[in-house]
């Protein structure tokens, strides 16, 4: 396997070089070694050979994950200037800052696969890559910040903890760091909702209303049902993914029901009931029409989110150009 430097010298992306330069017999050998490593639960590292489709699938998933962290700053940052106490304001600022940091780890992990942050951001801004559809919902009250922490971060953690054992080393390691911080945010979100639930009547209502609005979108974060999930099977074979969408969704529901009870809040699902024979909670049908609609760009905030992201990027262009020009003059790394 040629080094990254060699690829750079040849002016090709690693994946592209592998496609062009490797004769079929060698590829079969490499494929066998890759399959063996994955089967043995070994980590695939950036300079190891990997199938092009594995590389492409990881770039897609990690980029989407990074984009979600960045777009996900918006609904919460929406409340920074209105946070009702200085303690809550500090917690929220720290959280939004962590999200930018998570975006940075994840873009770095994606870059080990031969892409660049600029290229990925360009794909986000032009709509060629997606971010989690949950961030297309608006934060209408302060309680939404708590509900996002409890439910949205909770769903993200349920999804991401298995990714700490993902077959691709840089992604798995990024997930270890991300999950630690996310768990912290989730507890803070829960604690914030608890304060509201036990507060005045108006605060309790605010909390219940937020949970009513965020519950179903959170369940949708696990993706389409298993029989409609196009990438799932291949991702599980490659050990990028360890559990199916429906398995993870069920795990999340089972965790949330008792937490909602301790919060003194209800979940907006009349069909939610313990099923003794399955040992799980049964829950009502998800509105998949809404899910696909939001995914296609027709959610409440799709335009707003991407417009703000593009504007920040465009309005910041002169700053990035200045940093590059300064670095070129003075031979220093840019910010």
């Amino acid at each position: 396997m040629a080094t990254a430097a060699a690829h750079k010298a040849a002016g090709t992306e690693p994946g592209e070089a592998a496609r062009q330069a490797t004769p079929p017999a060698r590829t079969a050998e490499q494929q066998a070694a890759f399959d063996e490593a994955v089967a043995a639960d070994e980590r695939i590292e950036p300079r190891d050979w990997m199938p092009d489709a594995y590389r492409a699938s990881l770039v897609r998933q990690i980029a989407q994950h990074a984009h979600s962290e960045i777009i996900g700053m918006q609904p919460e940052a929406n409340w920074i200037t209105r946070a009702p106490s200085l303690r809550r304001k500090a917690i929220l600022m720290a959280k939004v800052q962590d999200e930018a940091g998570h975006g940075l780890y994840l873009y770095s992990a994606a870059e080990t696969l031969g892409t660049s942050r600029d290229e990925l951001l360009d794909k986000l801004h032009s709509g060629r890559q997606k971010y989690s559809s949950i961030f297309n919902y608006p934060t209408l009250t302060w309680a939404d910040v708590g509900a996002i922490g409890w439910l949205v971060d909770g769903a993200a953690i349920t999804n991401q903890v298995p990714l700490c054992r993902c077959s691709y080393g840089p992604y798995a390691r990024a997930m270890v760091r991300v999950c630690k911080e996310e768990s912290f945010h989730q507890r803070q979100g829960y604690e914030s909702l608890l304060a509201l639930s036990r507060g005045t009547e108006a605060q309790h209502e605010m909390a219940q209303d937020a949970v009513n609005r965020w519950w179903w979108p959170s369940l949708m974060m696990f993706g389409p049902p298993d029989d409609e999930s196009s990438h799932s099977e291949q991702s599980m074979t490659w050990k990028i993914k360890r559990h199916s969408n429906d398995e993870l969704r069920q795990r999340f529901v089972d965790i949330c029901v008792p937490q909602a009870e301790s919060l003194g809040l209800t979940l907006p699902d009349p069909d939610l009931v313990w099923n003794e024979s399955r040992g799980h909670y049964d829950f009502g049908p998800i509105d998949w029409t809404e899910f696909w609609d939001v995914l296609k760009g027709n959610g409440p905030c799709n335009d707003q989110r991407i417009t703000q992201r593009r504007r920040a990027h465009e309005e910041g262009a002169w700053v990035r150009e200045a940093a590059a020009a300064h670095a070129a003059k003075h031979g220093k790394a840019t910010a």
Binding site: S85, M93, T200, Q203, W318, E321
Partner: protein, 256 residues
Amino acid sequence: MTAAPASLPTSGAAPTATPAPTPALPALALGDDALVLSHRLGEWAGHAPVLEEEVALANIALDLLGQARVLLSLAGDEDELAYLREERAFRNLQLVEQPNGDFAHTIARQLYFSTYQTLLYGQLASGDGEFAPLAAKAVKEVAYHQDHAEQWTLRLGDGTAESHDRMQRGLDALWRFTGEMFQPVAGLDVDCPALRESWTASVTAVIKRATLTVPDGPQTGAWTAGAGRQGLHTEPFGRMLAEMQHLHRSHPGASW
């Protein structure tokens, strides 16, 4: 946690005309500076020119909010002081309440203020007054803030023609608010007028290295001398407070 005493207005309904008395002026002055600038920097979240600056600006905002909480707690209840005082009872410098403008404007504000804060906290940390423990911790934070502002002043000043112009405009526009930093603060064990020389030397050196020009206008208008410290603010400040205080004031006596 934040149950408001009867002496403070707790809702929009008929607040008393006179702001609450302001004991512990130095704690309020320094605390309000940090609180208000932190709020302004918080407005950048999700709008920064590059991800690293999302992290850096939020980081600085958090440091300042931490300082504000300690200082306001020395003067009373931090949330009552932040959320239930009227504009006229705030004691922050007019400099820190100025709107963010573009990135260069924000950096100019950071350069002026962090240089001042470094000098001020440096003196407080070396004394044994009430603020010494806070200042000892804060000097490390403000040294980072100052370095961040200086590095960006250099990059923008000595970057492209556009960034040079913008940085110069930021420095020029905020210059008239800088004189207020050197007005004495009653009860504060720092000779504020004496900070002017070191401040000017430090800021001048950075501005010159950045190939920019030190603004030559007055550092105060007749009406701005010490004004923020006396509760006289600029128009954007009231709107900032309206946003900051709205939710807290809508739920009198609630805990969060």
